[in-house]
């Protein structure tokens, strides 16, 4: 059943997908940093307030994924920021996250060599988001 985009239920299902992925488990071995995703508000898309997704990732597992404010996400070791529409494009496979970062469509903050070292893990994490059935606020 579809869940509301970037809701607590979405975060729970996303965490389950990450923890079910053997590809992620292997590619993210050694990862020990928090990742924050800032989903910027787009009121005209029925997404009126920015949200922050805080991911506590450790050594190939997602210990916790929660939804809070943008400020919560900005405190993480790595922060990726984009408007709601861009994240929707990522989650629906319209936009590859790696390309999005190289094009500046997704803004990334954090230690670059570390994130590059874990490219495969971040790609698989993006794949995990695409496996969560989502009810998009601009489509309801």
């Amino acid at each position: 059943m579809a869940v509301k985009a970037f809701s607590s239920e979405w975060a729970r299902q996303f965490k389950d997908e990450v923890n079910a992925s053997s590809v992620y488990k292997s590619a993210a071995k050694g990862w020990k940093w928090t990742v924050g995703l800032v989903v910027e508000a787009e009121p005209d898309k029925n997404f009126p307030e920015s949200r922050g997704i805080v991911m506590d990732l450790f050594d190939g597992t997602a210990r916790d994924i929660t939804v809070g404010t943008a400020a919560d996400a900005q405190k993480c070791d790595f922060v990726i920021t984009a408007p709601y529409t861009r994240w929707k494009q990522v989650a629906t496979k319209e936009l590859d996250a790696t390309k999005g970062i190289l094009q500046g469509k997704l803004k990334m903050k954090g230690d670059l060599p570390t994130i590059v070292r874990y490219t495969k893990a971040s790609q698989e994490m993006t794949e995990c988001t695409t496996r969560v059935p989502v009810e998009w606020p601009d489509e309801s």
Binding site: K99, G104, T119
Partner: protein, 155 residues
């Protein structure tokens, strides 16, 4: 030089204390990322710093699936990153975004040679064989290709 242009690339005097500078007032996201990556690599590794201090070359990187590129102008201890491909490049790497990222993940083995026999290396070698990764100017500049690979590598 595989890409003979109309003349030498303008060398701007950029006032900066850092080793990496950007030629454009608004560096592209790709330029910022590559410049930042190289900056972090040479800060963290004396071996990469040594390579960086000795390298003089103009390296183009073109990401084929986003139609964006940069020119890296290595000047023995300094780097100027230009948006887009500029003339007079010694080598030009053309590949998809994923392959460009994989190039940064090549391990460096004996004698400072990139490792092509692990999973990442085999993937890169296969792309090269299939023409999905092109390195124009490679033949006369193997040493430069290897040095640039070492500086890029985050491994």
């Amino acid at each position: 030089m595989h890409d003979a242009g109309p003349g030498r690339m303008a060398r701007r005097k950029l006032k900066t204390d850092r080793s990496v500078a950007f030629a454009d007032q608004e560096p592209s996201a790709f330029a910022s990322m590559l410049g930042g990556l190289i900056d972090a690599n040479i800060e963290n590794s004396p071996a990469k710093r040594k390579d960086f201090d000795e390298l003089e070359a103009r390296v183009g990187i073109w990401v084929t699936d986003i139609d964006e590129g940069v020119t890296l102008e290595f000047q023995r201890g300094a780097l100027v990153v230009h948006n887009g491909l500029k003339p007079k490049r010694d080598i030009t790497i053309r590949a998809e975004a994923e392959t460009v990222m994989n190039l940064s993940n090549l391990k460096i083995g004996l004698f400072g040679m990139p490792v092509y026999y692990d999973a990442t290396g085999r993937g890169v070698a296969l792309k090269l064989l299939r023409g999905k990764l092109r390195i124009d100017g490679m033949l006369g500049n193997i040493a430069t290709v290897n040095t640039v690979t070492r500086i890029f590598s985050v491994q």
